[in-house]
């Protein structure tokens, strides 16, 4: 007994066991870094489902306080803001009337063109429970889980564009990886000239469009949309707009900064597309295929061609994804300069067959317009409604087209003398 102290042994053994337990727990937690996206395990799910509701309650209290302060404390500009809003309402009411006309016309033209109806993707509205706790990663938790049919890699969007994809799923919650996260990659395409790249997160406010060669024509203001090639996001969803493109003479690729359309830091509701992958294209048919430098439009395109292919500055070009009726009552589809890019990237210089390089089996041949109205009819015969309509169908919302610019609301047939088209100085210039 002199040389064998039982208490000491027990104490050491207990300490050792505790250390081993701690190391095991830590290794388990650390190993979660290396697992693929899947359903959360029991421990994760129990923590998520237990802690989320009380945290959410606190969040509601916090939002209530915030709302109260914004409603009752910051009232100094209320009167002027009210008058401004009244004026805006009057303007918008008059616009709505004209847009209703455009909608009816759109319906009629759709029937004429006999568009195929695209497959309707099932979407699910979800509320954001919380953003990343640390503020350093770009993830958020929403209140839909596998009980609602959510699975990893489902795209998450809202009415402004792509938000991200589902990363992990719990019973009633799931984690969404935002497109601004550095670990996020989206196969993207410049809508104007179909140049493809990978959109990765840069910081909470921006993304980078990577692997675009320096000799390709990327311009500030170009719209970036999903290509649909990554098997996660449907084709044609709006990602962002190019904010800046830097070309380094010694670098193979350009550095392209993209500003996402969605204000990711202030998300409250999102829409989860319950089917991901191919076959959910939001974009219109007959679009030129996505390609690399081979189909880059000529740098010195005619002014008319530029006018056709360039999205209007400040406009939100592609399909503005409407929220479902459940999530938002105001389901307005925004117009697309994108529709304009349905025209060949080189409207005057290359025939459609060259652009397609023989690979567009499903593309409809573009009717060659009369020579006198070549540029005009190219724009005109590309129905603006296609993108909107299919996007609307895609998200199950009522088709509603509200063109944004006057030039987009013009009749899709041959313009009559004295019509809006002629009144538009820009179009007159094109002609």
């Amino acid at each position: 007994m002199k040389y064998f102290n039982t208490d000491g042994w027990v104490r050491r053994l207990r300490g050792l066991i505790l250390v081993l337990i701690f190391i095991t727990v830590f290794l388990y937690i650390f190993s979660l870094n290396f697992r693929s996206s899947s359903k959360m395990d029991v421990l994760q799910r129990s923590v998520t489902e237990t802690v989320s509701p009380p945290l959410r309650m606190f969040g509601k209290i916090f939002s209530g306080i915030e709302e109260l302060s914004s409603q009752y404390i910051w009232l100094k500009n209320l009167r002027s803001e009210n008058e401004l809003l009244k004026r805006q309402v009057a303007e918008l009411e008059s616009k709505v009337t004209s847009y209703q006309e455009a909608f009816i016309e759109n319906q009629r033209l759709r029937r004429l063109l006999d568009f195929k109806t695209s497959s309707k993707a099932e979407t699910l509205p979800a509320q954001v429970v919380m953003h990343d706790l640390t503020g350093w990663f770009q993830t958020l938790m929403v209140d839909k889980g596998f009980r609602d049919g959510i699975a990893p890699d489902m795209p998450v969007v809202n009415d402004e564009g792509v938000i991200g994809r589902v990363l992990d799923v719990s019973d009633r919650h799931c984690r969404v990886l935002l497109i601004t996260d550095q670990g996020s990659s989206v196969d993207a395409v410049d809508q104007r000239n179909r140049v493809r790249g990978i959109l990765s997160g840069k910081d909470p406010n921006g993304c980078l469009l990577k692997y675009i060669r320096s000799n390709l024509d990327i311009r500030e203001g170009d719209l970036v949309i999903t290509s649909g090639k990554d098997g996660v996001y449907p084709k044609g969803l709006r990602l962002g707009v190019i904010q800046a493109a830097y070309k380094d003479p010694v670098d193979l690729f350009q550095k392209i900064e993209v500003k996402p359309f969605v204000r990711l830091s202030a998300l409250e509701e999102v829409l989860i597309i319950k089917q991901s992958g191919v076959g959910l294209d939001v974009e219109e048919e007959g679009q030129p295929p996505i390609a690399g430098p081979e189909i880059q439009p000529p740098a010195q395109a005619s002014p008319a061609a530029q006018a056709v292919t360039e999205p209007a500055a400040g406009a939100k070009p592609v399909a503005k994804l409407p929220a479902t009726a459940a999530s938002k009552s105001k389901t307005v589809t925004k117009p697309q300069p994108a529709v304009r890019t349905r025209t060949s990237p080189h409207p005057q210089t290359k025939p459609a067959a060259q652009v397609g390089t023989g690979t567009i089996t499903g593309a409809k041949p573009v009717a060659k317009p009369p020579a006198a109205a070549a540029s005009k009819s190219k724009t005109v015969t590309k129905p603006q409604s296609t993108t909107h309509t299919r996007a609307n169908q895609f998200l199950g919302a009522p088709p509603q087209m509200i063109p944004r610019a006057k030039s987009q609301t013009r009749p899709l047939g041959n313009p009559q003398p004295g019509s809006q088209d002629q009144a538009n100085p820009r179009n007159a210039g094109e002609r």
């Binding site: 937690i29 802690v51 990886l177």
Partner: protein, 172 residues
């Protein structure tokens, strides 16, 4: 507020309740206030100072358990870099237990130094993790500067966060 009044702890259960409520309060702030701060440098980890207080208050085993539990919760809601918070909080508890005999735990200076060490460790780990993604020098510099400021900010706020649990008027 929590340290005085009805919840003044006179028993072990009272202490547990008090620390649990305070932990949850800080976690809620972490979830809804910190991510909304405009600058990344301001997004500190509020639970590190809490772990300091927990380590002082409880035994090493309970402290480690608490650190692992809440570290896992925070990791779970972050969804990336699993183990960062568990590791940091466990480090905080271990560090406080190691030096508790030499340091005066009520002294804000010591509290700030220890919390600063843990926050610096967390910031370095976070910086290395964020640096895995190739980026230009400017972005990299901005991340590290942000993390540096974050550490300093954590140090500054440490005593204020610890105070409700370890104030001298408290009964423990």
């Amino acid at each position: 507020m929590i340290a005085s009044g009805l919840l003044t702890p006179s028993s072990a259960a009272g202490r547990v309740i008090k620390i649990t409520i305070y932990t949850f309060f800080l976690l809620s702030l972490q979830a809804y206030v910190i991510p909304r701060l405009p600058y990344p440098a301001l997004r500190i980890d509020l639970l590190i100072p809490l772990m300091f207080a927990v380590a002082v208050e409880w035994s090493p085993f309970c402290g480690l358990l608490w650190a692992c539990l809440w570290g896992f919760v925070v990791d779970n809601f972050s969804g990336e870099f699993w183990g960062l918070h568990v590791g940091t909080y466990a480090l905080a508890v271990c560090l406080v237990n190691l030096v508790s005999e030499r340091f005066e735990r009520q002294n804000p200076g010591y509290q700030m130094v220890l919390v600063g060490c843990c926050a610096a460790g967390q910031s370095i780990a976070l910086g290395l993790f964020l640096s895995f993604v190739p980026m230009d020098l400017q972005s990299l510099t901005s991340i590290w500067v942000g993390l540096g400021i974050r550490t300093l900010f954590s140090v500054t706020l440490a005593s204020f966060i610890i105070y409700p649990l370890l104030n001298p008027r408290s009964e423990f």
